[in-house]
Subunit: 417 residues, 2 copies
């Protein structure tokens, strides 16, 4: 059974638009709980579909770590169901009065949160994104059109079929969740140029995917995720805290966008800080590259290339540079940073305040790890991605970031003079 | 003296970026007041430059009404100076703590308004937009790159030269305001594709300009302005109020985006309402086109075409349709509306509430004219355009809509576990 009847993308988007109209007044939380139950009930079928994707991927000789990202098991299905129930339990992001005032002419103005309408999600590999994105879009009152990667197509078909059946059972339109059910890349371009038919597209994946989307989109897009993040150890840093923060930001989960890629160390503390801090990182398996001053202080550090400063390693690799004070640190971050998450470690109030003001990034940390840039850590209760652009949403995106607003104006016959 | 030294657009944008860094901490209000004084002091030179544009436009045989939009006089220069002083007097939109909370791990999170950085403005004809956009961008802490229409190039050069001189005199970087000083259209495309070098582009002009921008942009854009707005007279309307609102929405200023283009009238009140209401509109010079039921009730109404329902006339022309109740009115607005401003006239609470919920538009009115969708009317103290898209800003855009935010996170060594 295909998840979505075969049809042109325009038809699919028109059905999504139609379905979206019923969502704001439907019991979306009951539907999310029904989806959770259906995922559990369909566990065996979901695993069988996923096994076909996994087998094909193994046959291609893909490394185990990447096959693992594609693989479902009973625990991961339970986690997807639990995520749906968590989203159901969050406050409704719709119909929130965000602002309101009265005009001198007596008109009352309210700014109220409303759904976008039709969201597009383009993402890679992990099948759990299919359920996460579907659940968050539904909670936010929008229909969603999903486009996963072709190597997860069987898994995504099965997951979307389960979600649609649950939606129907809960009395909601099945077309509120649809999958672009073909590996044809032309359909991605068609989605990205469907001006007026899709209200917002969120890409989630590597730098190549994001670039492709920005290049081809004629519809509103929120760029997510690329994080070349820095930890700067200032001259007045607590060096113990600095070591803990640098280690955590690099090692705790190196494959994510809020992990640090470059460590900047003030020259005045480099000798006291670097040998011990880098030894601990090396002992944890971190490959180190660095500037000449770093290499003069610590053995086993290869020379960093210009490319290294600009690279989001997403791996146990760290670039290290000794800088001559705050100005040079700010200049380095301004040149190589991706406006995601940046941290300073310092006890100096003035340095902290300059760093806060002058670093242009979604999240600017004083004396904390960059790893906290996350919708759950921020207390949003959900995360659909981390925006690295300045429009609409910047930083972690939860439900409040995937709704829009309208103004409601109430009068008694007011006319403009 | 050219307003901006000749150079490639990339250089111009790099200088804008550099200049933008100095703005948040500069006395931007003093600079705006200096610009106001300089505009007044340079009045004669500005009028002389404008006279060249006006003469060339007249020589092309352009109609008087369009030549008028291009023309400056002492009063209009005084108005531009006054607008700068008004913007200077508004509250600073930067460094506002928009939200803030404490996480269970002790981290304090603040969401703080910050500048976009480099704004692009692409607009048509009216030279006052050059000053308005420059003043609002400066107040919002961003450098601005202006691209007016080629028929206003001499005027815009002179205005930008005056603004830059005043900026320099006030100790701010002149490159915070720059003009794309060439009629070459390829530069527009270059601006629209300068990903990373320009943070936001706002087009202001007709439907053709907006389409061109959406088609070519690879940078974030806020679409503005196209308004095919409706007034719906419900069965339970106060017909006196309905007549006043319909008349005001069409006639008070027909050439603007928040003017009404179509009047929808419930069949049950059509006979009582239409003859008198349309007679008043016709007497004011409004050309009327309508459906067959309208034409059966009122003489002198030409048949409305499918194209008429979809057209933003921006003129003394109104399309009139008799509808069978709220459902048909909502369906008509959903099909032909441009999500700008929509009004219902009714005394029925349920009808008002359904209209509010089901109409997908930036501004939804109950018993008031659509003409209030305006930054000044809304009390924003400024307006850089009216967004008809759902991302970032929707509806009138004042200063709060042309800034972004960042999260500041303060800790004492917190790391993620």
């Amino acid at each position: 059974m295909p998840a979505t009847p075969t049809s042109s993308l325009a038809d699919l988007l028109a059905r999504a638009r139609q379905a979206s109209r019923a969502l704001p007044d439907a019991d979306r939380d009951a539907a999310l709980r029904a989806i959770a139950e259906a995922l559990e009930a369909d566990g065996e079928a979901l695993l069988a579909a996923n096994a076909r994707d996994v087998a094909a991927e193994r046959a291609r000789g893909t490394p185990d770590s990447r096959v693992d990202r594609l693989t479902l098991d009973a625990g991961r299905i339970a986690a997807m169901a639990a995520a749906c129930r968590q989203v159901a339990a969050l406050p409704d992001p719709l119909d929130r009065v965000l602002d309101g005032w009265r005009l001198p002419n007596g008109l009352r103005v309210r700014k109220v949160s409303v759904p976008f309408g039709v969201l597009g999600m383009i993402y890679e590999s992990r099948p759990n994104v299919t359920v996460d994105a579907g659940a968050l879009a539904l909670k936010a009152g929008s229909a969603v059109v999903l486009r996963g990667s072709s190597n997860a197509l069987n898994s995504n078909r099965a997951l979307v079929a389960t979600m649609r059946r649950a939606l129907g059972g809960a009395g909601l339109p099945q077309d509120a969740v649809q999958l672009i059910d073909s590996p044809d890349r032309a359909l991605v371009t068609e989605l990205l140029t469907a001006h007026g038919a899709v209200d917002l597209v969120i890409p989630r994946g590597g730098a190549g995917l994001i670039r492709h989307v920005v290049e081809h989109a004629r519809v509103p897009v929120i760029e997510t995720g690329v994080g070349n993040c820095h930890v700067y150890v200032h001259a007045q840093a607590d060096l113990g805290a600095a070591e803990a923060i640098a280690f955590n930001a690099k090692v705790q989960r190196p494959g994510v966008c809020n992990a640090a890629e470059t460590l900047l160390v003030d020259a005045s503390v480099a000798e006291a800080f670097l040998p011990k801090a880098l030894a601990r990182l090396a002992a944890a398996g971190v490959e180190l590259v660095g500037c000449e001053r770093t290499r003069a202080l610590v053995d086993g550090v290869r020379p960093a290339t210009e490319q290294d400063w600009a690279t989001e390693f997403l791996d146990l690799k760290l670039a290290v540079r000794v800088v001559d004070g705050l100005d040079q640190a700010l200049e380095h971050i301004g040149r190589y940073g991706t406006q995601h998450s940046e941290a300073i470690v310092t006890r100096d109030l003035g340095a902290a305040e300059r760093f806060r003001r002058e670093v242009d990034a979604a999240a600017v940390y004083v004396n904390a790890s960059t790893r906290f840039t996350d919708g759950f850590e921020f207390g949003f209760g959900a995360e659909i991605g981390i925006s690295t652009q300045k429009m609409h949403a910047r930083g972690p995106m939860g439900l409040a970031q995937i709704v829009t607003h309208k103004y409601l104006i109430d009068g008694e016959g007011q006319i403009r003079s």
